[in-house]
């Protein structure tokens, strides 16, 4: 499956996509593709342009320039788009006075599906019939997310576009989400999901597109992005140690409660010994890699946050 998927055209294609509001550029010259069989995580801090990009993909926001195609078509020209592309942009964007089941019934009617389809999906996402008869205004965020996933899957689409779908889910819910999306992709579908939470996406996605300030800062297979020879070091005074490392010719970057250095543990230990620095932690950068990558890639924005 994966070999054939690599040669077929991408299911989602974004090329030179730009969105400006006056002088403010929300999304700038984005290029990426999502292949069949892939779960692609669209990662970035709040306000990075993720939602704007997803809205442009489904025709709700007109791009300033560039183009995006879903299933090799302009989304707005798809016949009965709900049967091809499942979309969840905001789980809370539902009429609070409508019941959960009614939301799905309206969706099924619009797509020309049998209304029983709504009940199938209610069961599938783990809502009870009595929950489905309650008004959405009384739902917890987790229940809204499940309802939103049910709505996205209603038309048995081949593409899923989900904005922050794991938001509000408990750990069991996130695990469930991963299983659903994995199964969906294994059947030949593709998933593009956004998140500002690294943990979620590290668990769920196999490809990553990372953006900051409307620009792509990294993209590729998760395994490739995380492959690194970096070492993590934490000392009594990381500021002093970073300076010592710099003097020894090793550039140190801030990581989570420590430093990331592109050097072996032995080199770093030697610098520490020579500089008389007490090391508290020294190891190959491991499970925190994506977080470190994220912090590093979005460091500009993070500094802004602190400065404000």
């Amino acid at each position: 499956m994966t070999s054939s998927a690599a040669t077929s055209p991408p299911m989602i294609e974004v090329a030179g996509l730009t969105k400006s509001y006056g002088s403010y550029t929300a999304v700038s010259d984005l290029d990426f593709t999502v292949q069949a069989g892939s779960v692609t995580g669209f990662l970035g801090p709040n306000g990075a342009g993720k939602s704007t990009t997803l809205r442009m993909l489904v025709g709700l926001t007109p791009p300033t320039s560039g183009r995006c195609r879903v299933l090799d078509t302009d989304y707005r020209l798809l016949p009965n788009p709900g049967r091809h592309v499942g979309v969840l942009l905001d789980a809370s964007a539902q009429h609070s006075g409508r019941t959960g089941r009614e939301v799905l019934v309206i969706g099924a009617m619009t797509m020309g599906l049998d209304i029983h389809r709504a009940d199938e999906l209610i069961e599938f996402v783990g809502l009870t019939q009595s929950e489905a008869r309650r008004r959405v205004g009384n739902y917890s965020l987790g229940m809204r997310q499940r309802l939103g996933v049910a709505h996205a899957l209603l038309g048995d689409p081949s593409v899923l576009i989900l904005d922050e779908p794991a938001n509000g889910l408990d750990p069991a819910g996130i695990h469930w989400m991963r299983s659903v999306l994995r199964a969906f992709a294994d059947r030949g579908g593709c998933v593009l999901l956004s998140s500002h939470l690294l943990r979620e996406i590290e668990v769920i996605a196999d490809h990553l597109v990372v953006i900051g300030r409307g620009r792509i800062v990294a993209q590729g297979a998760k395994a490739d992005l995380l492959a690194t020879t970096d070492t993590f070091a934490h000392s009594q005074d990381d500021r002093v140690f970073a300076e010592a490392l710099g003097n020894a010719g090793f550039a140190a970057r801030p990581g989570t409660d420590g430093l990331l250095i592109a050097a072996s543990t032995q080199d770093i230990a030697q610098v520490a010994a020579a500089a008389g620095v007490v090391l508290l932690e020294l190891r190959p950068a491991g499970s925190d890699q994506l977080e470190d990558l994220f912090l590093q890639l979005t460091a500009d924005d993070a500094r802004d946050e602190v400065a404000r």
Partner: protein
């Protein structure tokens, strides 16, 4: 919440794979059925529709027992049902549009049906169908009231009304419904649209009556004034022209800008 379901039942098998070729979007007939259902499937919608339909028999019954027998005519009974209808029907037209923004359901509606013009046409048709239904209920209920008035209170029972009476009232009711729809499209936010719709024409009507130089010509630009010959069944060529000009100012112009706004605006969640 129940335990997470097993994956094996990813519910897909029964559906036929759809084609990627064919007309874009969702056909009008399906959108119309959906929009008709959306008028009544929320708590607010259900109440509004119930009140619009139920207010007519209530008024007829009250009139039956409070009015002088000699004024119990079909024409009078019909006229009395019109005021609450004219007041409430536009709210239905207005909310049919603004809930998509105020409740943010537009994110789903316009994703499933990206052709926004077709969605607007379906909404207009849905509220038009409901408006005609409400008008029919008023005409029929008034007829029943007239029969009962004659039987129970020896009422006048006159049926004099004429084709033009039906025509004039349908024009008024569908016209104000369209006005609500136009305000909804123009303002998009329920609260803003409702306040503007109910306050602005009233202020205008007050102003044209208070300013002597405007008063004589008010029917040319004040829709409320232009509509009063329709109620009184005394339409003339000039009155139709005045109504048409006022209707253009209050409905067609805001409606045109409203349609453009809906077609061009960005649908966002916040």
């Amino acid at each position: 919440m129940t335990a997470s379901p097993a994956l094996t039942n990813l519910p897909t098998a029964a559906l036929v794979r759809p084609s990627l070729t064919g007309p874009a979007g969702v056909p009008f007939s399906r959108l119309l059925r959906t929009e008709l259902r959306k008028l009544t499937d929320t708590r607010a919608g259900k109440w509004l529709v119930t009140v619009i339909i139920a207010v007519t028999p209530v008024i007829v019954v009250i009139t039956l027992f409070t009015s002088k027998p000699k004024s119990l005519t079909y024409s009078n009974l019909v006229d009395l049902t019109q005021t609450p209808q004219e007041f409430l029907l536009p709210a239905l037209g207005l909310l049919a549009v603004t809930t998509e923004w105020s409740q943010r359901t537009g994110l789903v509606t316009f994703t499933l049906a990206p052709h926004r013009g077709r969605v607007l046409r379906a909404k207009a048709a849905a509220i038009g169908v409901f408006g005609l239904l409400a008008i029919a209920v008023a005409f029929v209920t008034a007829a029943i009231g007239n029969l009962l008035g004659e039987a129970l209170r020896h009422g006048n029972g006159s049926w004099a009304f004429g084709f033009s009476g039906f025509r004039d009232l349908i024009v008024v009711q569908l016209g104000t419904l369209a006005e609500g729809f136009a305000f909804g499209m123009l303002l998009l936010i329920s609260s803003a649209a409702i306040i503007t719709y109910y306050v602005l024409p009233t202020i205008t009507a007050f102003a044209v009556n208070a300013i002597p130089s405007l008063k004589s010509d008010k029917s040319w630009f004040d829709l409320i004034s232009a509509q009063s010959p329709l109620y009184n069944h005394e339409m003339t060529g000039t009155a139709w022209l005045q109504w048409l000009v006022s209707f253009t100012i209050w409905v067609l112009v805001p409606g045109t800008f409203g349609v453009l706004r809906v077609l061009r605006s960005e649908i966002k969640s916040s």
